[in-house]
Symmetry: C2
Subunit: 158 residues, 2 copies
DNA sequence: GGAGTTATGGATAATGATATCCACTATCGG
DNA sequence: CCGATAGTGGATATCATTATCCATAACTCC
């Protein structure tokens, strides 16, 4: 409201979750550990533990413990939508009733909240129709999350 | 991420700001005081002071002090977009560069962040094309923010 | 000009999201 | 079985948002 960077349409938690599952989608086959994912996606490893747990409980990823443990997508990357990932960690909240703090008699929203809910619905639809496979480049070919991430990988693993 | 209600696509501050300007749009002519707006829109009066100040600095509302003071829209309600109100208090942040914490060499976003930014752009467009007059009912006729708000007004002012 | 009213601006407190840390459990390889 | 590895779960710290409070400035009416 006043000075510098803060407001985000998507929470930091959602950011981490999406980076993680995209990275997993780009590296199928063997499980990746939390440390590996954290390193690649520039997420704090300790916090990522919580995020991954939420993804596991939601059935988006499959976790394995022990020496060859780590995380894999629970299904193929074209069977998981971005919306599912978002909802696993920070559910998108549609506006079903008037947010004024009253028992909602109203079944219909006022023009303002109808507009806002329409906007949320748009997002929901956009995320729901996007699959993880849409974000990994065609043919399972490995693509970096961003150009910048590619640079990091190059620098970190000579 | 775990148990109950939290995540919102729009911040509480944005909610208050929008309720306030919609209420102002529905009551043109004379200025409304912070207390009046707070009462009608169920917003905490003290916090609303800050929100209104931000709206004033952004040129969305016009403030007057003293005995017949209060707030009025700075322009007519069909000359103010919802986006302008949102940006006045909690600017929508487009994703211009990779959020990974590196100097952004990359001019192009990766598929993930392109998708996310597209979603944000959709919201921006939807809010930008909606005017306050679109939210007040046709012909300047007074409509409540929500059905619930109408009930409150009825109960509060017999 | 004085009294009362109302926004302004800053300081401070409470709340929720984010981040860190540690003990525990499951799994694998010997 | 033993030790090492890696996820699980909970406790705690940090930080931004939200909320409250107070002193001050501007304005109206008398």
């Amino acid at each position: 409201m006043d000075n510098d960077i803060h407001y985000r349409m998507f929470s930091q938690t959602v950011e981490y979750a999406l980076r993680a599952v995209v990275w997993l989608a780009q590296h199928p086959g063997k499980p990746l550990t939390r440390q590996q994912i954290a390193g690649a996606t520039q997420a704090p490893a300790d916090y990522l533990a919580k995020v991954m747990r939420a993804l596991g409980q939601a059935g988006v990823v499959q976790a394995g413990r022990g020496v060859h443990g780590g995380f894999m997508l629970a299904r193929s990357s074209d069977a998981i939508s971005v919306l599912e990932v978002v909802n696993a960690v920070d559910p998108i909240r549609r506006i079903h009733s008037c947010p004024l703090d009253l028992p909602s008699h109203s079944l219909r929203l006022c023009p303002l909240h109808r507009k806002l809910d329409d906007a949320v619905a748009q997002i929901e639809a956009a995320l729901g129709s996007t699959r993880l496979s849409d974000l990994t480049g065609e043919g399972g070919q490995v693509r970096p999350l961003c150009e910048a991430a590619q640079i990091v990988r190059g620098a970190a693993s000579p």
